[in-house]
């Protein structure tokens, strides 16, 4: 009898890793016109980004329904000690609210803790991975909730975008963020703070942007875990990972992850980012 771990597809956890740790991933939906797809299930990344770049219309996204979450909870609830359901920032998506409501209505006999990480993408992913490992090692609900809270408070997520257009059109530019735009070509750099998208910097070239990502990672001191996120540039992600692996404890490598179709809808192509969990001492 263990605690089951649920998250959503915006955590961008590589599917092998999710399977290996027994993490249940509930997909959000992405829609091109009238065609609807389940994030990470029935639309390949290649096809998604090709449509995103070349397609006539931008995709829209929607959260899983209360019913969909409830079904997952009922299914997992049988014979488990509890369910930890960990999600992206409630300030960016209604996913958390959907899950929260489902937890109240699902009538499952085991306890369900729905947790708002105030994070996105692999920053949620790293929190989920930490909690799943602890759950698999036998930790109980209380301990796992405390762990989720603790890792969330030490999580950071910052990204270099190729353009702010996708984030803007998707309405996810935070109120504290100056409206960047105009005739000068720049690479906006964003950081999640208090669950919202904030401005980290603006760079004029990708190389300066990558240098800024590396510099920013170093500013967070010692690091427990790290993930590199990219939307369309796997080589850049690989070289960033090997550059930063020395920040991690001996023998650990950053997880490399590709932004799924929901995160990709807002990041657009050419996004490159870092999610990390600071060490408790730093």
């Amino acid at each position: 009898m263990t605690v089951k771990i649920v998250t959503d597809s915006t955590a961008d956890i590589p599917s092998e890793l999710a399977q290996e740790l027994g993490i249940e991933v509930v997909p959000l939906k992405v829609r091109f016109g009238t065609e609807e797809f389940l994030d990470g299930m029935n639309l390949s990344s290649e096809e998604f980004y090709q449509r995103l770049i070349e397609g006539p219309t931008l995709p829209t996204t929607s959260q899983p329904s209360v019913g969909e979450f409830a079904e997952v909870y009922r299914h997992l609830g049988e014979g488990s000690d509890g369910i930890m359901s960990i999600h992206l920032s409630s300030k960016l998506s209604g996913t958390f609210n959907s899950a929260k409501q489902a937890s109240e209505e699902a009538k499952v006999c085991c306890p369900i803790e729905v947790f708002d990480t105030l994070q996105a993408s692999m920053a949620v992913g790293l929190i989920v991975l930490a909690v799943a490992r602890a759950a698999n090692a036998g930790a109980g609900m209380e301990e796992l909730t405390a762990l989720a809270e603790d890792t969330s408070s030490r999580s950071e997520f910052f990204v270099m975008l190729d353009t702010l257009e996708y984030l803007k059109k998707g309405g996810r530019v935070g109120p504290a963020m100056a409206l960047i735009g105009g005739i000068l070509n720049i690479k906006p750099m964003i950081i999640l703070r208090d669950g919202e998208v904030n401005e980290l910097a603006k760079e004029r070239t990708r190389r300066k942007g990558v240098a800024r990502l590396i510099r920013t990672a170093h500013e967070f001191g010692t690091i427990d875990d790290m993930a590199i996120l990219h939307s369309t540039t796997p080589d850049e992600a690989d070289s960033l990972a090997s550059n930063l692996s020395r920040l991690l404890p001996e023998g650990r490598q950053p997880v490399i992850s590709r932004a799924g179709s929901v995160i990709g809808t807002y990041s657009g192509p050419g996004a490159l980012g870092i999610a990390l969990i600071r060490s408790a001492t730093s």
């Binding site: 100056a178 105009g182 005739i183 000068l184 720049i186 401005e199 004029r204 070239t205 300066k208």
Partner: protein
């Protein structure tokens, strides 16, 4: 000397109103030759503005002092310093303003002052000037101030009168100006004397002329060693015999060539006809070719008329009202901002010029202080812009090496927390502005912005305004020149080939992006063709072509 003070004071004592008369004469002398001083810039770039900066400083100084109804030398000197400081723009203006700081210090508490105090004021001024500039260089206005002060002290301690003190200091200053090329290799190479030094001499000379009963506005003549031979400078000097009047309109210049049928031009007739519809008329030349300079409200009509006289060429129309309107407009905008705009934690105020460049700064959140062509903002204008910005914490980007000193002085008179990030050109300014993040603490922002300055290289393409051999490069007047970090590295007849050669020297193996801000005489099509050539020559570098709208410069280029 005013009669009232004569009764009770030594015969050569000066009161406050005497100081105003003296410095009115000094201003008139500088005004007469300010265009010549502008043209003595080491680099023959078309935005030389030393004379203008010094003149604006003096004009503001006089304005402020004239409003004080006082006979006291001390009170008037204080007002002069106040006005000069606020009115000073550019390096040269800030240094000149120290003259009045010296007077204000040395005349403190005195209703009347004599030769010894005058000499002391010049000495104090010299010391203030050295400390006002971060890195004093000999062979500049500073050296001229040193020599003038030294001669003034010698004269005063040998019982010289006020007139004798100014005679001695004017002679010493003139000799010092003549010697500046021997002290500074750049001047020697460029074949000019120091512009600021010459301006300072004109101030002393104007006072000397006034004290000896002459009319500085008419009688101030440049020393023989100032080369006025080349056509541009010669003509410019001629122009300035008629600048007493203050009307603005359009400064219109053109050449007029007689048509081939042997019809010769009559200078007198041209002058007479020009005077009917224009002011400040200057016509120089001969029966085959004349250069015309006028101020007129109706340049089109005037040119139409000129075409009936001969072949019109090299037309240059500069709207002086517009420059002032631009200024006025930016103040109104700033003032409106202060009332209605949402207050922000930190505001950035940037100096910019050219429609496209101004737009870029605005789009990235800066309040823009528009600088005109050869019109650097004064200390007061900078302080006003800062005070009008929508925050108590302001970061200022001068975007021009010559505006930096005035910006630093503005820190002391602004009521706000003002930090200056010393951007010395537009590319540095844009880099620094992009680094700014509203939510970051002020110190962190300033530090980060300063760090970006070294990450961008600035190059420029413009026309040479005189013939020159500098940094080992020859350029004839009217040729295109390329500057790399303000150093002349190439000249030629075609803007695109100069641009390519310049970039050949500026682009490093790790350069990623060349941004070309086009302006000056270029049009969109020419700029696109030039950018295409650049793109062919540097296939591995990204090229971005943007309309800068800056005057004079074909291209302002950032390489990063």
């Amino acid at each position: 000397m005013s009669q009232s003070s004569n009764l009770h004071q030594p015969s050569n004592a000066l009161d406050g109103q005497d100081l105003i008369s003296m410095f009115s004469a000094a201003t008139a002398a500088l005004r007469k030759h300010s265009e010549m001083v502008n043209r003595l810039n080491v680099y023959p770039v078309p935005d030389g503005d030393t004379g203008t900066n010094m003149l604006l400083t003096l004009e503001r100084m006089l304005d402020t002092a004239s409003q004080i109804k006082s006979q006291s030398a001390s009170e008037i000197a204080n007002a002069m310093w106040e006005g000069a400081l606020r009115g000073s723009g550019g390096n040269s203006g800030v240094i000149l303003a120290q003259l009045f700081k010296g007077m204000s210090t040395s005349f403190a508490g005195c209703d009347n002052v004599g030769p010894l105090q005058v000499a002391e004021a010049l000495t104090e001024a010299r010391d203030f000037a050295y400390s006002a500039v971060g890195n004093p260089v000999e062979g500049t206005m500073l050296t001229v101030m040193t020599e003038a002060a030294s001669a003034a002290r010698d004269s005063a301690t040998n019982a010289g009168t006020v007139l004798e003190v100014f005679e001695a200091s004017s002679i010493a200053a003139s000799a010092a100006v003549e010697n500046t090329p021997n002290l500074l290799a750049r001047l020697r190479e460029a074949g000019v004397v120091d512009a600021g030094g010459l301006g300072f001499w004109l101030v002393l000379e104007g006072i000397r002329l006034h004290l000896s009963g002459q009319n500085a506005a008419l009688d101030a003549e440049l020393p023989d060693y100032v080369d006025v031979s080349d056509s541009a400078t010669g003509l410019a000097q001629e122009f300035l015999h008629s600048t007493e009047d203050e009307e603005y309109g359009n400064c219109t210049q053109f050449t007029l060539e007689s048509t081939s049928e042997g019809a010769s031009l009559s200078l007198d007739a041209i002058i007479t006809s020009m005077n009917e519809s224009a002011s400040s008329v200057v016509v120089v030349g001969d029966s085959n070719l004349v250069k015309v300079h006028v101020h007129t409200e109706t340049p089109k009509e005037l040119l139409e008329y000129a075409r009936t006289l001969g072949k019109v060429d090299q037309i240059r129309i500069q709207n002086m009202d517009e420059q002032r309107r631009d200024y006025a407009e930016s103040w109104r905008r700033l003032a409106a901002n202060a009332d209605t705009a949402m207050q922000v934690p930190i505001a950035v105020v940037a100096v910019a010029w050219g429609e496209g460049l101004v737009r870029i700064f605005r789009e990235h959140g800066a309040t823009v202080l528009i600088a005109g062509d050869t019109m650097n903002p004064s200390v007061q204008e900078i302080a006003d812009a800062v005070d009008a910005a929508p925050s108590d914490n302001v970061i200022f980007l001068p975007n021009n090496r010559d505006i930096l000193p005035a910006a630093q002085q503005a820190v002391s008179i602004s009521s706000k927390t003002l930090r200056v990030v010393p951007t010395s050109n537009i590319p540095e300014g844009i880099s620094a502005l992009l680094e700014f993040v509203q939510t970051r603490p002020l110190d962190e922002n300033v530090e980060g912005m300063e760090e970006t300055l070294s990450s961008v290289t600035c190059a420029e393409v413009c026309l040479s305004v005189r013939s020159v051999n500098l940094d080992g490069v020859d350029a004839a007047e009217g040729q295109v020149i390329g500057l790399l970090e303000r150093k002349m590295v190439v000249s030629g007849d075609d803007a695109t080939s100069v641009l390519l050669n310049l970039l050949g020297q500026a682009v490093a193996p790790d350069s990623e992006l060349i941004t070309l801000y086009w302006g000056g005489p270029m049009d969109n099509r020419q700029a696109e063709l030039a950018a295409e050539s650049v793109s062919n020559q540097f296939p591995d570098v990204d090229i971005e072509l943007l309309p800068g709208g800056q005057p004079h410069y074909h291209f302002i280029i950032s390489i990063e």
